[in-house]
Amino acid sequence: MNFRKAMAVLSVLMLSMAMVFAGGSSEASSDSKSVEVWRISNPDEKIIAAFDQVAEDFKAATGIDVSYVLVPTNDFHTKLVTSISAGVFPDVIIWNSNPGIEFANTGKVHPANGILEEIGMDQFGESIIKMFEIDGVIYESPFMVRPAGMHARRDWLEAAGYDLTMKTDENGKYYIEGLETWEDLLEAGKKITDAANGKYGLGFPMSRKAFGDSAGFCFSVIASFGGRILDDEGNLDIDTPEMRAAIQYLIDIWNSGAVPSAATTWDGNSNNQFFLTGDIGIVCNSNSIMGKLNAESAVKPEQLVMLPLPKGPTGHGYQQATPESITMFETKNVESAEEFVKYLLSTETQLKMFETMGFGYYSPLKKDVINDPMFADLSDNEKVLLNSGDQYISASFPGEPDARLTQLYSAFFYDDILSHIAVDGWNVDQIIDEMEKTASEMLFD
């Protein structure tokens, strides 16, 4: 009997202890000489090797351990939100969706002003720093950018009569005659579409499943047409002629038949895949395509031409591609985190990373790195990507960084505009009404 009683008490004690240990936060259990870094998981061995080398060199130089937590793109936001809601903050995250701005109100984001002043703000350009700054506090450090652009089939466009000679305007920006504006792009898309043979000119996802590709395309069109969500005073400013023109353009694209109907259910990989299999003529995507073209692929490297970003009626072309930034949180490892971020932003480290991983998936943002001879000898397609760096915009564009606009961007707001066009067949008035209702609820409630 005594034995059974003892066993019962012992099992209660063991369970309690197990729960105490299991419930401990990572913050409490982490070593003060280590840094936990969350970043997007990428199967590319060269990128993995570059980051691993950084961690190894940093450990050798400072004695601080770096442990990477690799998170799939699709799960990054959910994992971050749930983790922060539970009070568990990573030391550092490297991501491209403005997390520092989004979580600025939690009071747990560690400002990057000190680090950037030490490195030199002029290394990044004012427009980039502004993406990460609210009321003088910089919540994220610009790291690199995953360049995005218009990937097009050179052979299809040439067969349709386009001369793809790259020209340079007075501002040093590249352009191709006849393919300068969104309207030009739509015309080209129609010309190269051969639906009867399963060939479509334009591969723009119009789906809720595209993890940023739909939203990025929609937002880029709206920004290029001069549309915006908030005016300078912070009031809703959706129903404008510019926004209406942008929505009408998106409807025209869908009605043109140049986009396959399946685009309403595409996921984040579909447009790349269908471009790589030779079914789509033009896709707007981050630069994961270039590295996959080779002599064995269905589309050969010489069949690819990168089109400079198309302009809207404003005379400007934009691409929603927030630079990949580094956000630090107020954890007990914040000093080690600062050391690591400084190391990661140093010119030597970045050049070494580019030596390992090459140009393509990442493009440099720091001027000393861009001006290095390593980047003087790029191909024409790579030069177009590098040349577009100052046309990348964040979800708060054209205004100051605003956490609410970042959240609106993540909340299917722009994806749903495309879904309403393609699935529901809505007109401009219906879409503007819905945008105003949703934005008003999300921004002002």
């Binding site: 009683k5 099992s11 209660v12 939100v81 109100n105 009071g107 309403t264 909340a411 699935v423």
Partner: protein
């Protein structure tokens, strides 16, 4: 014996002392399970309830009491009525088909034939394959450019141009329903098979001797003998299907008119970053589920 019963017996002091001591030890053994249940069931439910009456966002530290505002926002959301309709269609139609298919297959698996073990394993596969893997495959099968269904229907001359199954309202809901049924029928099959195996074979033999045909045997012996198992299986299937989320979220993200109450709750919480609205939606779901659970409890008592 439930903890309350043990405590009652303990207080009445009517049990022999040895049994009383045993019961005390029993309480100690039960305590860990009770503590775990409180932590993983009661605490989240109460937390959600509290959240649903506050303005509560993961990106903002300010949390004010807002009364029933969150519930009002949820029920006036344009997607709410559709999500309720879809949830009931998905749960009830899904449960019916799962049970019908499960019953047909259970009847087949209850017979002796060569390769029965292999057939059983194969039929269980939809339940065993990881959801993400099977949903990815289904997504490709329904694809509007290369999907096998489009290719087949085109070759059979049923369609003259490819159909974007998951991009058309109504058809998309039917597609996710098909996948849900495909993933859920094995469980029903196993439950019904267990029920079938408990029916004495003498009853079938006697019926055959009396000249009963297969239909008479099915409706006069099998169904009445399975009545209890069948009603519990249907009820459990409705509850499980009512709670399902992953198939719809992975296939459509709630697009093309396929939102259910669960996907909408998830969207409020983790896409719109409104934990408060997500919690309010969850409380509404809980009310619906409580009705099913009440029926389940009563049924169990009757049995």
């Amino acid at each position: 014996m439930a903890v309350a019963d043990i405590l009652r017996n303990r207080n009445t002091n009517q049990l022999p002392s040895l049994e009383r001591r045993d019961n005390r030890v029993g309480i100690y053994f039960l305590l860990p399970a009770v503590i775990v249940l409180i932590i993983i069931v009661a605490y989240p439910v109460i937390y959600s309830l509290v959240m649903s009456f506050h303005r509560w966002r993961p990106t903002d530290i300010n949390r004010n009491f807002v009364g029933f505002d969150n519930f009002a926002r949820v029920v006036t959301d344009s997607r709410f009525p559709q999500s309720i309709f879809n949830t009931f269609v998905y749960a009830i139609v899904g449960a019916c088909f799962k049970v019908i298919i499960g019953m047909i297959l259970a009847l087949m698996m209850n017979r002796e034939f060569k390769g029965r073990s292999i057939a059983r394993v194969l039929l269980m596969l939809p339940w065993v394959i990881p959801v993400t893997a099977s949903v990815t495959t289904w997504n490709w099968m329904f694809d509007g450019m290369y999907g096998i269904f489009n290719v087949l229907l085109m070759r059979l001359g049923v369609i003259d141009e490819y159909v974007n199954f998951l991009g058309i309202k109504g058809i998309a809901l039917a597609c996710v329903l098909i996948v849900g049924i495909w993933m859920g029928y094995p469980q029903m099959m196993m439950m019904l098979l267990a029920g079938l195996q408990s029916i004495p074979t003498e009853m079938y033999e006697a019926a055959k001797v009396e000249g009963a045909g297969p239909f008479t045997i099915f409706f006069r012996i099998t169904i009445p003998s399975l009545a209890n198992v069948l009603s519990m299986t249907i009820l459990l299937s409705i509850i499980w299907t009512f709670n399902s989320f992953n198939v719809i979220w992975l296939m459509t993200r709630g697009g093309s008119g396929t939102h259910t109450m669960n996907t909408l709750a998830y969207e409020f919480s983790f896409v719109n970053m409104r934990y408060d609205l997500g919690a309010a939606m969850s409380v509404i779901i809980l009310v619906f589920l409580a009705v099913f659970l009440f029926i389940y409890q009563r049924k169990q008592k009757e049995d």
